[in-house]
Amino acid sequence: MTTMTTKRRLTLAALTGAVALATGLAALPAAAQTSLRVFSGGQNQRPDLMRKLFDQYQAKNPGVKIDIETGGATSELQRQYLSTVLNAKDSAIDIYMIDIVNPAQYFGAGWLEPLDAHLGMSGADAMKPYLPVYASSNIVDGKIAAMPAFADAMFMYYRKDLLAKHGVAEPKTWDELAAASKKIQAAEGNPNLQGLSIQGAPIEGAVCTFLLPYWSQGKDFNDASGRMTLDKPVAVKGLNQWLGMVDAGVIKKNVAEVKTPDTVNEFMAGQVIFAINWGFAWDRFKDDPASQVKGNVGVMPLPAMAGGKSATCVGGWQWAVSAFSKNKAEAAKLVKFMSSPEASKFLAVEGSLLPVYQSVYTDADVVKVAPWFKDAAGVVIAGKSRPMSKEYGQVSDVIRTTTSAVLARTKKPEEGVDEIASRLTRVMR
């Protein structure tokens, strides 16, 4: 009996000691070191370059260790992953890189930490140095929901060599573009040469495919408060512009199957005269070993509808601090660094990622690497953002699914536009 009690006591003492030791050991390094875990997007968001920036930050802040997580090839896949993680209030990830369309939705769901207090300034002040479109998309309900990482917009890439060879000037309207394409296609006599490549698959890019011809007639999809202001006949006319170009053989028939990488790959293979794509594609056309169009690529603003004015779809990526992070203060500091002019310049020089500061566009080092950035600033500034809505998941799904169905000709443009209007009136009010 006595021996048993002694044994028990001994065991208990040993256990207590071990627990104390373990907690002590765990607590020691924690005091000196903060670990931050960052979700850094998919390959197109260049996690390799972000890693280099994180390394720079770690070198300057020895107390901070940054782990990086990547994933999701497209914006929709990332949104699905992040919705799952954030919905579970997971505290494992401290910082998220999110698409420009997401701050409103995530902030609305209470998933993002407002950064005003951490940065010590109001939203308006914090956003002043950035391009105006990023200020409006990152301020939600008057609070800073996220900080800009890099900009993006849809550009018109074209084959300089082919336009020069056939004496064609840069088209200013979609009709001019169609005529130019037809002329070049006929003269080249290559049945696989497409005039224009746009994205018609039901992916995030198809939201822009719907909005580009609509906006370029001078109309807005929504007002400042987020209420939908869809002008149906104008939207139908925009979709008919695409369908007319399909009928004319300028856009290929299975356009409703085309995703962003298809456009990039087909343009790189020399099968496309004009291609609409995001800014990141420039780097691929220029540097990818598989690119057969190196040195022959021009960039210009998107054409407009006849009588309208050019408008592009603005994209871009933001850094946001999770509302469930256990290291919000440290995370906010890192976000501030990642959103600084130095970081923006680094990304522009190393990866041709468009800067979020106007001054960086004209920086001598940047212009040396990407001469077209001089003109790109104007395009991004004049660009429009997709509707900022707390229900963006639904807004995007309705627009892209319907646009794709219209381009696949399973719905008439009128039916498609009616469907968008009736489904979104309830959501965007």
């Binding site: 929709e76 949104r79 699905q80 919705s83 799952t84 919905n87 939705q105 609305g108 769901a109 209470g110 039901p202 290929k252 028939k253 299975n254 409703a256 199957e257 707390k390 229900e391 998941g393 639904q394 995007s396 799904d397 699914t401 319907t402 794709s404 169905a405 696949a408 000709r409 399973t410 719905k411």
Partner: protein, 299 residues
Amino acid sequence: MAAPTALDRLRDPSEKTLGVMLLAPAFLLLLLIVVYPIGKLIWNSFFDLRLSGGSGVKFAGFENYALVLKDPDFWNATKNTVLITLITVPGALVVGLGLATLANLPFRRKWPVRLALLLPWALPLAFAGLIFAWFFHTEYGVVNDVMRRLGAAEPTMWLLRPGWAFTAICMTIIWKTSSFMALILLAGLQMIPRSLYEAAEVDGANKWQQFWQITIPMLMPSIIVALIFRSITALQTFDIPYTMTKGGPGNSTETLAMLIHKTTIDYLDVGYGSTLAVCMFLLSLVVTGFYINRIGRNA
């Protein structure tokens, strides 16, 4: 002798107590991973639970269920799900039966046949969907290439026409699932005694008669088991249409599971998504009930 204490009873439990004690861990586990989630799902279906609005949780009573009944997307998805089940389950049964009969032939080497049966079954559903999406691609797909060589003038846009897209999805599902059918049926085939066929041969029955009079009746239990498993998974069809068409063009190939996923994950409408899931659960329950009823009568 003193009356047994609680501790004594624990040390030397009766047959019944021991049974309860041994079952308890499994029962608790089931409670945690089956009963709790289903209960929570049904509970959520009675609330207006939208994550994106920030408006909080409101009790909605049967409002979500009323909305479901009026929702054309729900009926469209239900129609697609039921059609996929009605087409692919018998389809896979017929193809699977053929494969199983083939594999049951007295080959000298059995493993290549067995391997060919196992491979599609071992392939993840999403991979099968992605592979077949490439097969059916308008420009790069092997299907259109074969059709062009056979003399088709215009490529068929398989995944961009509602009817063709549906056909392509059903063909993929049948390809993917018939090997599972075949595996179960092959096990059944091997249990049929050879003597039955020998006796039939003596009586002068031809192969066709042997198949209908011996093979099919003897195989019935295996067929029923295969049908139950396949029907229930067919009602949950998600991966293959999701990777092949994303439900497109429009929502012409959207299934119930895809609609639930979209409502919950993309739209962040957990309340309505739960209601849709409860409706899908009821549909599965009806189908399972039908089979259990049939088995009961057969037994």
